[in-house]
Symmetry: C2
Subunit: 244 residues, 2 copies
DNA sequence: TTTTATTGTCTACATTTGAGACAATAAAAT
DNA sequence: ATTTTATTGTCTCAAATGTAGACAATAAAA
C-alpha cells in the first residue's frame, strides 16, 4: 500500500490478489502480515492508476507487494457489499499501535480516503514456488505461505475471497489446463496427481488419473527421474506449451 | 442515466446489464436506443450509490432503466482496460445534437464526471418476456429486443460485453439450472430444446435431449397441451423450484 | 539373488452418451 | 368410420467414457 493520492488512483476501487502456490504436497496461499501490533493479515492489494488497465494494475500490484511477476493471473469475482470498508480494521490497528504511530503513517486525508467504502476486484494467481521468491515490503512484518485450508485470520472479507478463488480454480482447472502453472517445468505423474488432490481435497485413483491426463494429449514424456528410492523410476513430463 | 453527483455515487465505476429474453425461438438481448440523433445504442447502465451493494445497485439500475425487477441477475466479468471511457461517444453525440442540446442535458461538471475513464461491472439477467414489459425512460428513444447474433451497433465495448455474457450463460446453463428463468411457468420439452438450441446455436437430437433433461429430475410433468395440431399432444412441464 | 516399493499399463466391468427405430396419438383428410 | 399425417415419448443397441482390479516392469536395498 503506497500512500494513496486522490488524483492518481481510481477512488473506492481496489484489487485483491489470491496467490496460490504448491509446496510440500499442499496448496498454499501467500499471505503477508502487516508490520504492526495485532496480527493483521491481509491479501496483497492495491489501487488502479488512472492510466492503466485493471489486468495491468493487478500485475503491478502483485509485483510491488510480493516481487512476483510473469505468472498466470485472472480476475474471478467482484466484492462490493454496501458496508464493505476497512475502517474498523484500520481503527483497531491504529488503536493497538498508538505509541509507534505518530502521524507518520496516516494523515487525516489519507485515512479518510482509504477508509471509505471500497469495491474490490478479486484476482487469483498461480505460481511455481521454485521460480519465485516472495519479498516482503516495508509495510509487512512477514509474508508466508499458508495451507489453503488452514489460513490465519484475515481482515475484512479476505477469507471469503480465498474460498471464492479456490472454487474458481477448481472449476477452471481442467477446462483451462492451468494446473501446470503451479508445478516446476518438469514433474512426475505423482506430482501432478498430488497437486490435483490438494486442490480438490480428495483422492484420485492412480491408474485412472494417469490415463485421464495422458488422454488430454498435452504432455510430453521426458527421461526417467532416478530418485534413489528402491523402486521403479517414474518418467518426467513437461507441459507442451502449444496447448496453452 | 440520472444526472450523476460526485457525492452520491462511487466515481469511475459503473454497472452494465446484458438482459437476455427468449422469444420467437430466438435468444434476444434488450437494447435501449438513446433519444438523440445518431442511432446510439447502449446497454442499460448506471452507477453505484455509496450506500448500496453492487448486486443491489444492479437490480436498481435494471428497474430504473427498464422497469424489470425480481429476475435472475449475476455478475459475469469486469471491464476495465485503461483507455475505457465514453468521452468520444459523448462528444460525437453532442456534436450531432447541438441544436437540441442547450446546456440542458449536460453541464460542464457532469460532462467531466461522466467522461472520465470508467471501470464497469458486467451483469447478465434472464427474464421471461411474458412476465415483463420493458419500459423506456426519458433518455431512450426506444427499447427493443434484438437477436443476440444480430445486434445493432453499440457504443464502446458493449458488443464485447454481450459476447462475454453469452459465453458465461452457456457455461452456467446446466450447472446452475437457469434456463427456466427464460421460459414461462409451464413449457413443453420442445420449447426447452429450442431455447437450448438458440443459446448454443446448434441442434440437439430430440430423443437424447429429452432423456438428459428428464434425468436431471428437476421437472414435474403436468397435463397435456392440446394445440389443435394434427399430432400427438405434448406434455407441459414445470420447473420444481425446490431444485433452484 | 531375493525382496520391497512404486510405476506403467492392461483388462474386465459399469455407466454414460449417441443414433436409430417404433408405437402412441391428436386432428385433418378421406 | 377409417386412413393419413405430423409429432411425441420411449425403447434398444452400439459406442464412448469412466471405474476398479490385476500384474508385469524395475530401481535399489536386503
Amino acid at each position: 500500500m503506497h500512500s494513496p493520492s486522490e488524483q492518481d488512483y481510481i477512488e473506492q476501487l481496489s484489487i485483491d490478489c489470491v496467490i496460490f502456490g504448491y509446496q510440500d504436497s499442499q496448496l498454499n496461499v501467500l499471505v503477508p502480515k502487516l508490520n504492526f501490533k495485532g496480527d493483521f493479515c491481509a491479501l496483497p492489494s492495491g489501487f488502479i492508476y488512472q492510466s492503466e488497465g485493471i489486468d495491468q494494475a493487478a500485475r503491478r500490484i502483485l509485483e510491488e507487494r510480493t516481487g512476483i511477476k510473469d505468472i498466470y493471473l485472472e480476475q474471478f469475482r467482484v466484492f462490493g457489499d454496501s458496508p464493505r470498508t476497512n475502517k474498523s480494521f484500520l481503527e483497531r490497528l491504529i488503536q493497538l499501535n498508538e505509541d509507534e504511530l505518530g502521524d507518520q503513517h496516516f494523515n487525516r486525508k489519507e485515512f479518510d480516503w482509504i477508509t471509505r467504502r471500497f469495491v474490490s476486484i478479486g484476482y487469483y494467481a498461480l505460481v511455481d514456488v521454485n521460480k519465485v521468491v516472495p519479498k516482503k515490503t516495508g509495510i509487512d512484518e512477514s509474508i508466508n505461505w499458508y495451507p489453503v485450508r488452514a489460513l490465519p485470520e484475515m481482515i475484512m472479507d479476505h477469507a471469503e475471497m480465498v474460498q471464492s478463488a479456490l472454487h474458481t480454480l477448481q472449476l477452471n482447472l481442467d477446462e483451462k489446463l492451468i494446473a501446470f502453472n503451479l508445478l516446476p517445468e518438469t514433474f512426475t505423474m505423482r506430482d501432478l496427481q498430488e497437486l490435483y488432490e490438494s486442490i480438490f481435497d480428495r483422492a484420485f485413483p492412480r491408474n485412472n488419473f494417469q490415463k485421464k491426463i495422458l488422454d488430454l494429449d498435452v504432455l510430453e514424456r521426458l527421461e526417467k527421474k532416478f530418485t534413489g528410492a528402491a523402486n521403479k523410476a517414474p518418467f518426467l513430463y513437461r507441459f507442451r506449451k502449444e496447448n496453452a
